[in-house]
Amino acid sequence: MAETAGFTVGLEIHVRLNTPHKIFCYCPNRADGAPNTHTCPVCLGLPGTLPVLNPEVKEPALRLALALGCTIARVSEFSRKNYFYPDLPRNYQITQQRWPLATGGQLEEVGLERIHLEEDAGRSRHQDGGWNLVDLNRAGTPLAEIVTLPQLRDGAGARRVLARLRQLVRYLGISDGDMEKGSLRCDANVGLGPGHSQAGPWVEVKNLNSLRFVQKAVDQEIQRLGKALACGQPLRRQTRGWDPRTGQTYAQRLKEELADYLYFPEPDLPPLVISAAAIEAVRRNQPELPGARQARYEESWGLSRDDAATLCRTPQLADYFDTTVQELRTRGFREADGAAEAARWILSRVLAAVDGKDESLKVIPLQPSGLAALLAARLDGRRTRQQILTIWEPAMRGEDPVSLVEREVPPGPSREQIQTLAQQILARDAHLVARFQAGNPALLNHFLGNVMQATKGRAEPRTVKEILLELLAGFSP
């Protein structure tokens, strides 16, 4: 579609930081609970109260800024954004405007303009009869807002960027990144040309609370604007909402009607000063980020790109996998072997059991050490895949994997027993051995099948194969 080629998309993403307390007072940072129970005179904005920056917010904000490669401002400043709204108790929001905490940086394919700190508003619920119910539990909870440059092209790109950010905040441990709960929220700006041609975006779609909605809303707006342009209709700058029931955006207000926020520096808060030492301390303690982890799985352990990406999708899953590999290493297996085996079982069996809820990996009965016990039996040839499968369900239910391996599975034949069986079979089929030796390697599978059958499938095929090759090499009928 030629007419949509020039559209560019930028995102404004709010991340609720999971500090124990709110950003300007010491109320619990919890948006849930009975309405208006996590409040105090400060976050209610009662006359005479003053905001005091809670130092808890600094570390998570710095973690995020460093992970995104931003330049951290040694001195940043808070401002007031003034507007009347029932869920904003002071009728101004304390945010960072002119001097944000961090600038620059990169998130996937899109450059970042800035990251700044601000407070969240409460929530209001419209009631019948024109009433509004206001819950201020959320008022004053800490947000980091990430503003990207308008460099995205379509909904898929917007979705990818947002998904990557969600993964990142989870790895950093600074937010649960749950879009349904509002811990991660996204506004999308759609405009024309690079930098939205100075004039800013034509459309801002507010409050998109799922990855799917972001993608749909962005594509819809690009189409809508493209059609309007093609028909020669004048574009109007506007703010639009997203209706999840209809799956459509709708006009909220035109930009001309937008409030002037009367920004000015917040006189109640001194500038936020970040020392080089503080930045260094955070940098030192930064966890391994998803990109690095995925590269390690691919390059050091030889996993496929898809498998590595899936295993890295959440820190819980990657940790589960990593710990299993480490457990296997302590049992004497090479990391690459352990990783291949662990990946195979986790990607199929374990993921099926947690059904997308990776946070439950921390509490499922089969923990990495137990899984390693099962896989070790397979890796050292004591058990076959089929044998492990027969004890998988009880292991997942919490039965002790070590005793399952030892007791409930009849042990497979020993090497000597296999050797004896193989010798008998080769002696019986001596004519076939001659053909094998004359240059028919496919006959190996025939011998293998016969030996396996003779062991009732309990032998490890790899071991049988080894023994057969050994015998065949020195066999003379």
């Binding site: 108790p89 000015f264 001194p270």
Partner: protein, 474 residues
């Protein structure tokens, strides 16, 4: 044995030691008498209950002294009405840090005083709850915005009162009523519990009958507070009684161009007297031009209106305060604010929104901010060569009620000498030093470098006692 004017706390302490019972009886009678007049003076809007038996002040340094609270300083359960109909029924659920600290030192807050609505005014006539008059002459203004606090101290209702000083609101009424008005360095005293007017200028100050009393109150309530990020401890005030400091060798800057400033003859003449007196005490006078002070009022008007507009946004009638009728949130908040706010408050809100709005922010607000920085630099330069600055507190003595009510510019001119120290965040004291021919109080304002309250008060106290006033009086 204890006749005459209401005693200072310093004198009361001595009298109490001499004969506690006799002092108590006399104080009771004096207070009764003073309070019999209070209706006519209008300084007090609410009396607060006496502390319960269990809360009888312990042996704190300020035990047994009654004090009054300006109506914009929060005390749990007390009306924090700010002189506004909007907050007529509002009771604060918490104590301001200053209230808590003074109570712990034994103070009983017995009354809430009238004030210009939200501190906006210089005569207390913009009060919507209570209209204080000047105890020296009921036809005159007590000054403002802490007019009720100044009048309550001058009339002997209480030993001292807390006020707030944003552009002179402690010093100017102190001058009008003939009491001491002390404004600390911005950041010296926690603002937690002070209803914000212009946050970067607001300070809590003291109105008292002598410098030593004001000092005692200041050192009790000063110091960093975890509930106010802009409060500071450094350098700390030493927590002992004030010793006077001699003026000998002190370099004292005085305004050299006061004639150019549309100042009353009596004020001008009194300034000359004060300068001569300071010289006789051994001070070296250093005349300095005050041309920058002229910009001060304009800078102040812009900054103060902008911050006030934002600070007063919270008054929407949702959680507390006056809620108007209307079919939508917006309608009812507009109705509540229109009915609840008086004319001066509405004027400043409109002005504040204007100077912050799109096309005007650079022209007004940011320019005023730059002007404030230049003025602060001027002071830094001045204090590079001088120890202290001494000039009039206000261009006139107390003025008749009604004369400036319809002329906002004339009203604001009352603050022309107090606003500069506010813009620079400097500590200052207004000290009654004499009277005009009509017998009305006139004052000297002393301004000291940042954080030098101790020296400021020590010099002010020695000037006070050289005039036969203060602690040694009576």
């Amino acid at each position: 044995m204890i006749d005459g004017p209401a005693p200072t706390m310093a004198r009361a302490r001595r009298l109490r030691q001499e004969d506690a019972a006799a002092f108590q009886v006399h104080e009771y009678r004096r207070l009764e008498e003073s309070r019999a007049r209070q209706q006519a003076l209008g300084a007090i809007t609410h009396w607060l209950p006496a502390p319960g038996a269990t809360k009888v002040p312990q042996a704190g340094p300020l035990s047994g002294f009654d004090a009054a609270l300006k109506a914009n300083i929060a005390a749990a359960g007390a009306p924090t009405h700010c002189g506004s109909l909007f907050l007529e029924d509002y009771r604060s659920p918490f104590d301001a840090t200053v209230v808590r600290r003074l109570r712990e030192a034994g103070v009983h807050f017995s009354a809430v005083t009238a004030m210009d609505e939200f501190g906006m005014g210089s005569s207390s006539e913009f009060s919507q709850i209570g209209r204080p008059v000047n105890p020296h002459d009921p036809r005159l203004s007590a000054g403002g915005s802490s007019g009720g606090s100044a009048a309550a101290v001058a009339a002997g209702h209480v030993y001292f009162a807390l006020g707030s000083d944003t552009g002179g609101s402690v010093r100017q009424p102190a001058h009008c009523c003939g009491v001491v008005g002390l404004k600390p360095t911005w950041g010296r005293v926690s603002r937690h519990g002070l209803v914000a007017f212009a946050s970067s200028l607001d300070t809590i100050g003291v109105l008292a009958r002598c410098v030593a009393d004001a000092w005692d109150v200041l050192r009790t309530m000063a110091g960093a507070d975890p509930l106010d990020a802009t409060s500071q401890d450094q350098p700390a005030l030493e927590s002992d009684y004030l010793t006077e400091q001699s003026w000998r060798g002190v370099v004292c800057a005085v305004p050299e161009d006061l004639e150019a400033w549309d100042v009353d003859h009596a004020v001008l003449a009194h300034q000359k007297e004060n300068e001569a007196h300071l010289r006789s005490l051994g001070a070296t006078l250093q005349p300095v031009p005050l041309k920058r002070w002229g910009d001060g009022l304009a800078i102040y008007t812009v900054l103060n209106a902008a911050q006030a507009a934002s600070n007063l946004q919270r008054f929407d009638g949702t959680l507390y305060g006056r809620r108007g009728a209307g079919s939508s949130h917006r309608e009812s908040l507009v109705a509540g604010r229109t009915a609840g706010f008086g004319p001066e408050v509405q004027r400043r809100i409109l002005l504040g929104c204007h100077v912050l709005s799109g096309g005007f922010r650079d022209r007004y607000y940011l320019r005023a901010r730059a002007g404030r920085q230049a003025l602060t630099e001027n002071f830094r330069h001045l204090f590079g060569g001088a120890d202290i600055l001494a000039g009039p507190t206000a261009p006139t003595a107390a003025f008749p009620l009604g004369t400036r009510l319809r002329d906002p510019v004339a009203m604001r001119r009352s603050d022309i000498f107090t606003v500069p120290a506010s813009l620079a965040g400097l500590p200052a004291v207004s000290l009654p030093t004499g009277t005009d021919p009509a017998g009305l109080p006139l004052s000297l304002q002393l301004v000291a470098p940042w954080w030098r309250e101790r020296r400021l008060c020590a010099l002010a106290a020695s000037l006070e006692s050289s005039l036969g006033k203060g602690d040694s009086r009576g």
